[in-house]
């Protein structure tokens, strides 16, 4: 089941590439969207068959490179299932958004389908090498998306993105090899490594492995100071590419912390938890402050991603704090971290698609070029307003559920750091309100750039159809989060149990 889920998009991509380029554009686009719909339906089926609290399910294990302890081992549990679902939702939204795409659609569709395989594969992987392969392939696919369909400066940004995250992935590989060598018998299997806890009591070795894995994941997440590839990549990427990059690819980093670093290296994690807390808080505040100073709307959203990912790092760091009687608080923090991944994926995906709408009309992301757009495009303004308020953590949206859990859960174990991180909420409120005011409110002014679409039409059908569901899901999660929490809570309890060994 999972294998089909993972490989279907690539299969379809290969089929699309066999069709001659001269075939009608719609064929590729509709084929792409249909595949994404099937994927989402499959995920819903997986979710429906998933028993919450039942541990890892839909497990498949096949021999792959037995001599090196590598196997094809996939499955889903409460940590990965929400992310698989999120990825399918976002890919579907992007395929709908791209229905009017005109540039080299065959390759575009094929690349996105391949990218979907890598994302889904990474989230269901239970083998370090499998994880690493998908991790690297996602970078490759995203490189081509940015370089091939981005704005004029895309080549450079894409190269920077590729090299930076690729170097990060090498650090990750180094850490994985360290784990492999420490295990007895040697293996790359995540489940076996988790059971073995191979580095218990070897603090220097464990510290070094955690450093390698931590740096690798931190580049991908990204946290301060490894985040500088993110703003140019987002600014130059096409809207759908940005949405996937921020919505799904960033989660690979944070997911890695929960799936690999915490359960396999519990001793080292507890020992160095403070580092993660500090990195998290710095990311929260730094990301929000730098975002506040941006004039470029898309760059601003990119920096808020650093801010939002910072909460996750704070939560996973605080979860390791020693101390009794805080079990409930720590569980809230870890659950909040997973919910934040889902929530950020939905909201930032919506925001980047909206940024794409803005660019498509005005040919610039510069906020000072716009004013009073709400008069011309009220629906667009309304949607952006809702997305912005959701993203600043307004109750009633998923962001609040996530941030409330993270902050209340982390306050007990790490009072000072969490109190500082609270300021991030205020800063993000300020920066989103400022952006809304600059672009949408006030007297009307549109950019004069040549080629700018003077009449500034409101949201079109396919744009609305891709963005509105994301926001609706954010509201559903914000008001009735139980269906997600029922899946996540047992898993976060499991992570904490593994961590406290």
């Amino acid at each position: 089941m999972l294998t089909a889920l993972v490989l279907l998009p690539t299969g379809v991509a290969a089929l699309l590439l066999c069709v001659p380029r001269s075939a009608p554009r719609r064929l590729f686009l509709v084929g792409w969207a249909a595949t994404c719909t099937v994927e989402l339906a499959l995920t819903v089926a997986v979710w429906a068959g998933y028993r919450s609290g039942g541990g890892t399910q839909y497990e498949t294990r096949a021999r792959w490179i037995p001599s090196a302890g590598v196997s094809y081992h996939v499955g889903v549990d409460g940590l990965s299932l929400p992310l698989v679902a999120l990825a399918c939702v976002l890919f579907l939204a992007c395929s709908v958004y791209a229905l009017r795409e005109t540039r080299r659609v065959r390759e575009f569709a094929a690349l996105f389908l391949f990218l979907q395989t890598t994302c889904l594969g990474l989230f269901v992987a239970f083998d370090l090498i499998l994880f690493f392969v998908f991790f690297d392939l996602s970078i490759v696919a995203m490189y081509f998306v940015i370089a091939g369909w981005g704005h004029p400066g895309a080549a450079r940004a894409a190269l920077k993105f590729f090299l930076y995250t690729f170097i990060g992935s090498l650090a990750l590989l180094l850490g994985f090899i360290g784990l492999y060598l420490a295990a007895n018998p040697h293996t790359f299997d995540i489940v076996e490594l988790t059971q073995q806890n191979p580095l218990a009591g070897r603090s220097l070795y464990g510290g070094l492995v955690l450093l390698a894995v931590g740096v690798g994941l931190a580049v991908k997440t990204p946290t301060v100071p490894f985040h500088t590839w993110l703003p140019p990549a987002h600014t130059e990427a096409p809207a759908a590419g940005s949405a996937i990059l921020a919505g799904v690819l960033l989660k690979m980093g944070t997911y890695g912390f929960l799936r690999i670093a915490m359960p396999i290296l519990p001793d080292s994690w507890r020992h160095y938890a403070l580092v993660f807390v500090v990195v998290g808080v710095v990311s929260v505040l730094y990301g929000a402050l730098v975002a506040l100073a941006q004039n470029d709307f898309k760059r601003m959203v990119a920096y808020t991603s650093v801010n939002h990912m910072g909460y996750i790092i704070l939560a996973v760091g605080a979860a390791a704090a020693a101390g009794d009687g805080q079990t409930e608080a720590r569980q809230l923090a870890v659950t909040g971290a997973v919910v934040q991944m889902v929530s950020h994926g939905l909201l930032t995906g919506a925001l980047f698609l909206l940024a794409g709408v803005l660019y498509e009309r005005g040919q610039t992301y510069d906020m000072s070029a716009y004013s009073g757009v709400a008069g011309r495009a009220p629906v667009f303004a309304g949607l952006t307003g809702v997305a912005a308020f959701a993203s600043l953590g307004l109750p009633g949206f998923s962001g609040f559920i996530a941030e409330f859990q993270i902050l209340t859960g982390s306050l007990g174990p790490r009072p000072v750091a969490t109190a500082l991180a609270l300021l991030g909420i205020l800063l993000s409120a300020g920066l989103f309100l400022r952006a809304l005011q600059r672009i949408f409110l006030g007297p009307l002014r549109l950019p004069e750039a040549p080629g700018a679409d003077r009449p500034f039409p409101d949201i079109r059908g396919h744009e609305g159809a891709s963005i509105v569901p994301l926001l609706v899901l954010a509201v559903v999660l914000g008001l009735a989060p139980r269906f997600l929490l029922d899946v996540v809570e047992p898993a976060s309890r499991g992570v904490l149990e593994l961590l406290s060994r």
Binding site: K160, Y164, A293, T335, F404, L411, L423, E489
Partner: protein, 623 residues
Amino acid sequence: MSAALWALVVLPLGSGALLAIGGRIVDRVAPLVAVAIAVVSLFLACLVSVAHPGAAARSLVGLPLRLHVDGLSGVMVVTTTAITTAVVVFSVWDIGADEARARFFGLLLLFSGSMLVTVTAANLLVLLMAWEIMGATSWALIGYWWRDPERVGAANTAFVTTRAADLGLYLAAGAALAGGRSESLALDELDRAADPWLSVITAGVVVAALGKSAQLPFSFWLSRAMQGPSPVSALLHSATMVVAGAYLLLRLQPLLDASGWGSPVVAWTGAATAIALGLVAVAQSDLKQLLAASSCAQIGFMVLAAGSSGVTGGVLQLIAHAAAKSLAFLAAGAWLTLFGAKSLPALQGAARRHRMAGVTFTVAVLTLAGVPPLSLWAAKDVLLAAALEESHWLYGAGLSAAVVSAVYSVKAVWFVWRPVPSGDTLRGDEPSTTCHVSVPGRLPLGVLAVACVALTVLAFRPARDAVTRVLGTGGRPVPHLWEFALSGGLALAASAAAWVWGSRPVPLPAPIRRWFVDWLGVEAVARALLVRPVFGIARALAAFDDRVLDRGVDGAAQAALRLARWTDRRTEQRVDGAVEGVASAARTLGRWARRPQTGQLHHYLAQAIAAFSVLAIVVVLVR
């Protein structure tokens, strides 16, 4: 009955959201829907205030969404829905058909719905959710006329300021969880935590409440919030938003007591706000600004009550103030719509022009003045009786604040009852339809004016005992007769003095007067000390990000590139040179080896002889 409670909160929130989403398409039906929902909500509120139901839904682990109605909540839901109904009916007249009515009424319902959730919330999670949604809808309502950058700026100021204070609630929630005694964050269990968490909870709650209630030092956002439409001000100042903070303090009065330091801090902040913002009100020359400052001051009394265990008095003050303040804003809004004026000098004679609004406005403002027999006079004495029990100084401060409120109230009344100036500037002079307030405009004014008078009963026996019983507050202390007489007399004397004084400026040095006109200049201080540095840091960090961090990464890449070029030029050339050298040496050797191949037999013979000779010599020598 819990269905009624759900309906009470879901109806306004749901329909409000639908109206706001519907936008201009549903503009025509919006007023009708809003009035209907408001009336139904009022009915439901009366129902639940009698039945006291509770309701719960599963949410976060161990943290259900729990609503509960007790005496205090019951009073609050009735007050909120009643004022909302009045304001919604008035808005049907005030917000014309050419405005975005669906957005306005939708947001108004959302706003009042979130207040209903706030006052029925049984734990911090629900409270915080409603609290923040209320803040966000207030942003949208204040910035309703969004084409004007100044109004949007005002909305941003309001939201950011109140959200800064809201962080206190996040802190309190985290501390309550960490304190471990109240795992469901229930409001009535918060005081069970142990120090230091108890102090953190108290501090967080107090900051959040003071921020929402625009008490010192947060008052300035309310001044800016006056940029919104008048019905919004009427609702925001009387039964939602700013009273939410006072409500929270009244509700959590046991927590303030338990913390040890909470009660006096809160009581004195309330007293200080009541006096200082009263003086600010005296200094204003804009009617809406005057009323806004008076809201801070009047809510200061409620905060004082929460800090001095005078919950009954605080609640009476809250109800009476809700009626009076909403009425004052609606009347002021009517004039603003009719005459386009809100500064006091421009409003001279406004009451004579429009008697209905004039008379009701006068009732409202004299209620604020604390003139007997209007409701705030007696309510204030009930709460001051509790303050007297705490300390004489607190009572004295409260009484002086009451005197100040009489002064600013009468100042407003004096202006609007002036004879119409001869060089008339009010544009309502021409007999046009704009000078007409239709039934939806008049009805709320009349009803609220009656309420201002009738609510007095609540402050006296036996009604007061009934209120005490409903609230379950014990009913002590009871105000003496002399207290009523004293405050009534002072209010009358101050009113008379203010009437005689008229429009002459307050005898104070100009800088001090300006300081009061500027709402104590807190906003400028906040901008200079907080906002500007934050932007400075933000810009500096952005520059750091671009010029240092990013440049560093680029630099690393450049360095790698340079290393590659160097390797290419130096090492690569040498290695390649060595290879080439070997090759050319081999070639040279080959050339040499070709030399002897001449093809002539005698050369080969000579070579063979030479070679064999050498070989023979070597053999001989070696052996």
